[in-house]
């Protein structure tokens, strides 16, 4: 399997402060990798840096996508190469309607909009993007947009946070569809899309079947292992020991 994403010794600043302090991480083609880590450890910053947001300034290191160095590409260049992101807290886009954005941004936007009801977003297409959306609505809107975007590699920042129990199934299934390129059979093992997923609760793992997991602490990857093992360990003992135990290795 070739490397979809390879991050080498990545250092990045946000707000004049170094947040990422030498991150190394690889996601192989077709693989789903999970990223755990305490609040404030730099997980969202890592995703924003991969997407190319200018709030995050790379000071050292490299981001390779399918073998190509994308460290200096603009956000849209990365999107066009096949990277998509579900943001944890996307900005309000005043005056821009969700439906118009999807139609403009994607050649299959019109078709995807016909499916909006399946995302429970049918009534939101004339709303301004993210303005006044609840936590769950933001996630469903991001998923609808990503479905139109069809990325090859997806960054999912806490897809289940702020989502009530009733909607978690919907979100989980839509994330599954994205990763399995629309094959809704849950038995399918043929994954076309790779991803990096941040989760606290691990709930999303029930829907997507992750391959490997990383733990981030204080701007570095301090541990990696099997997702279920790591999650169990973190749930029982917290992050306190992470990075020092060295017992769970893939």
């Amino acid at each position: 399997m070739t490397d979809m994403l390879k991050i080498i010794d990545l250092h990045a600043e946000a707000g004049e402060r170094e947040i990422l302090k030498g991150v190394n991480l690889t996601v192989k083609e077709g693989e789903t990798a999970v990223l755990f880590g305490p609040n404030g450890s730099g997980k969202s910053t890592l995703m924003s840096t991969i997407m190319g947001y200018s709030t995050c300034k790379v000071t050292q290191g490299q981001i390779l996508f399918k073998g190509e160095d994308i460290t200096d590409l603009t956000v849209d260049q990365r999107a066009k190469k096949g990277i998509g992101m579900m943001m944890q807290r996307p900005p309000n886009i005043f005056g821009v309607k969700l439906g118009d954005l999807i139609k403009t941004a994607s050649p299959i936007g019109e078709e995807v909009l016909k499916e909006a009801d399946r995302f429970k977003m049918g009534n939101f297409l004339d709303r301004e993007v993210n303005v006044g959306f609840s936590g769950g609505e933001i996630k469903r809107s991001e998923l609808l947009q990503l479905t139109a975007q069809k990325p090859e590699f997806i960054l999912l920042d806490e897809p289940e946070s702020g989502v009530d129990l009733e909607n978690i199934d919907l979100i989980g299934n839509k994330v599954h569809d994205l990763l399995y390129d629309g094959i809704s059979c849950r038995g399918s093992v043929q994954r076309h899309v790779s991803s990096l997923v941040i989760t606290h609760t691990g709930q999303i793992l029930d829907y997507i079947g992750a391959d490997c997991a990383y733990v981030m602490k204080n701007g570095r990857i301090c541990c990696s292992g099997r997702p279920t093992d790591l999650l169990k360990e973190i749930k029982e003992n917290g992050y306190g020991e992470c990075g020092s135990c060295q017992t769970i290795k893939l």
């Binding site: 709030t55 849209d76 999107a79 954005l101």
Partner: protein, 400 residues
């Protein structure tokens, strides 16, 4: 009538706002332009359509066109309740009109009003008789066709008690008449229980000077909406319409403008809330693309239970220009509720990048946000105007 000496003296009087223009530099525009029967086959069609005036006149109750200082077309499909003609013809026809003539507007206000007064400017007269609701909009077009000339106009709009009217007025210069001056005096009278929506779209040349002078008197329980749109380059433009509201009436001003490199735009307006329970809202969205920009708003509460809000928002897209927001609230009684909001800045980078992360390039992302920003200024824009407006924003070359 004011005495002529006072008005002649006012020829030296600079406008309260905006750079001073030497009006003697321009010759008079012709008052006997070509007469146009069929707008669709006229050379001027594209200029008209740029400013929201449709040449086929479909879904319009009437069309009145001025080229330079004379009327060149006047046609209405409405037989009852709607009166359209030139101001001069109307003065001959209706003796009572002199009670409206220079009554909302003081000709000694500044040199531009004085010039229109002394040169006996013609213009359009549009009147809706009491109780009539004119269904489709009436459109007027004011075109400058002669270079180095001054176009002065004196328009009168009367919407009588219980009547309603929607107007779209487009003003433009022909390409070859870039270095010209437009001075349009508009006196607007809205009766009791009446409605007027007055939408103005401007598209001038890079050197054109523009000094509209608009005053509106509104009776009781009426609504007056004034939409103003300018998206293309202009030389110097300054406009500050004033409305005087009676009891329980409301005024809404929506302004949308772009100031390109070399343009100097000073817009806004004033509402005097004179009647108990009257309301006003002034909204402006403007963009500096390297040009000078001033967004003004002045609300004056003169009666109890008035409610008014003012909002000026500007985005600076390119350096080289300047932006000034001047929101003013003035109250002369205790029982008023008046608020304002003003914001000046650039488009937030995270918004642009969010759209870019969906695959739009930077220019597309900016123009999408800007389009949204601008259209957010217009509450209840007449549907007839939305399409023209979208096209005008499209053509405004936002991403360059």
């Amino acid at each position: 009538m004011p005495d002529d000496k006072a008005v002649r003296d006012a020829l030296e009087k600079k406008g309260a706002f905006g750079t001073d223009i030497d009006i003697d530099r321009y010759e008079d525009g012709t008052s006997t332009p070509d007469q146009i029967d069929d707008l669709q086959s006229s050379d001027y069609q594209r200029y008209m359509e740029n400013v929201g005036v449709v040449a086929d006149e479909i879904n319009r109750s009437g069309t009145l066109m001025f080229i330079d200082n004379g009327m060149s077309h006047c046609h209405t499909s409405v037989q009852e309740g709607l009166d359209m003609m030139s101001t001069k013809d109307a003065l001959k026809k209706y003796d009572w009109l002199k009670d409206y003539f220079w009554k909302s507007m003081d000709p000694t206000k500044d040199k531009y009003t004085a010039k229109s007064y002394l040169d006996d400017a013609d213009g359009y007269f549009i009147r809706v008789k009491a109780g009539y609701h004119v269904k489709n909009p009436v459109q007027t077009c004011m075109l400058i066709n002669k270079d180095k000339s001054i176009q002065y106009l004196h328009n009168i709009i009367i919407v009588e008690d219980g009547a309603s009217l929607e107007m779209i007025t487009g003003c433009a210069t022909a390409h070859h008449a870039n270095d010209s001056l437009h001075v349009g005096v508009s006196e607007i009278y809205v009766g009791d229980n009446a409605n007027l929506t007055f939408s103005m779209i401007h598209s001038w040349g890079k050197q054109t000077g523009v000094r509209p002078r608009t005053a509106c008197t509104v009776g009781k329980n009426s609504n007056y909406t004034n939409n103003y749109v300018i998206l293309n380059p202009v030389g110097t433009l300054q406009s500050f319409p004033v409305a005087n509201l009676g009891e329980n009436s409301s005024a809404t001003y929506n302004t949308m403008c772009i100031s390109h490199e070399g343009s100097d735009i000073d817009t806004g307006g004033m509402v005097n809330l004179n009647g108990r329970g009257s309301r006003a809202e002034i909204m402006s969205r403007s963009i500096s693309m390297g040009g000078k920009l001033c967004a003004r708003g002045r609300l004056v509460g003169n009666a109890p239970e008035v409610k008014a809000h003012l909002e000026c928002r500007s985005i600076i897209l390119k350096d080289g220009g300047s932006t000034l927001a001047v929101p003013e609230l003035e109250a002369h009684v205790a029982d008023v509720e008046m608020t304002h909001e003003a914001a000046v800045g650039k488009i937030a980078r995270d918004q642009i990048e969010y759209l870019m992360s969906r695959g739009l390039d930077e220019d597309q992302a900016i123009s999408m946000i800007v389009r949204g920003f601008l259209s957010g200024s217009i509450n209840g824009l007449p549907p007839a105007l939305q399409k023209e407006l979208d096209e005008a924003i499209e053509q405004a070359n936002l991403g360059d």
